[in-house]
């Protein structure tokens, strides 16, 4: 871990959210559109997290799509390393100094899991819906950069 203070602009999406962003849309895509739309945010992901997501996409859709997705997400994410066997999303956040983990897994988003995770760092696991409610670029940007929020600065479909 490089810093004990999590960065509110760094976000990890668990395998289910990454796959749902691509294959389903809905709240997962809206949540990740927040990152794609703002150059000052960062998607953090380890190779093992992306390996697992690529395998899920290949299994549910096809390997060509999974490979194309991997090429695109590799160009987008900030890579991070963690020990083999760790939960890939939580470990990506803890080792990548990310404040948020997005997941559909109720066991990770529960209050009990949150309490347990606080023993390792100040990472918060959220359902994508909760992230959309709490992540407010209009409020966060001025606090971080001492300038008014300029609005989205990237095409989320590029």
């Amino acid at each position: 871990m490089t810093d004990t203070r999590p960065d509110p602009t760094r976000v990890v999406a668990d395998v289910d959210v990454l796959a749902a962003d691509l294959l389903v849309g809905g709240v997962a895509r809206r949540a990740l559109d927040c990152l794609r739309s703002h150059s000052w945010t960062t998607l953090v992901a380890s190779d093992s997290l992306l390996d697992e997501a690529q395998g899920i996409v290949a299994g549910l859709a096809d390997t060509d799509l999974a490979g194309a997705w991997r090429t695109r997400i590799d160009d987008t994410r900030r890579p991070v390393n963690h020990p083999a066997g760790d939960h890939p999303a939580v470990a990506s956040a803890l080792n990548g100094n990310a404040a948020h983990v997005l997941s559909f897994d109720d066991r990770l988003t529960s209050a009990a899991a949150g309490t347990a995770l606080r023993g390792y760092g100040d990472v918060s696991v959220k359902h994508p819906d909760a992230f959309l409610t709490q992540f407010d670029p209009d409020r966060l940007y001025p606090a971080l950069f001492d300038e008014p929020y300029p609005g989205p600065d990237r095409d989320p479909r590029a």
Partner: protein
């Protein structure tokens, strides 16, 4: 490299649900709820 728009259009050819994704992830991780 494909754009996100292209990837989403390709993915839309498949009809996948969040439940199917969660089940697939649980199978991969060997989860036993």
């Amino acid at each position: 490299m494909d754009s996100w728009q292209t990837l989403f259009e390709r993915a839309a050819e498949h009809s996948i649900t969040v439940s199917e994704i969660r089940d697939a992830v649980a199978d991969t991780r060997g989860d036993t709820e």
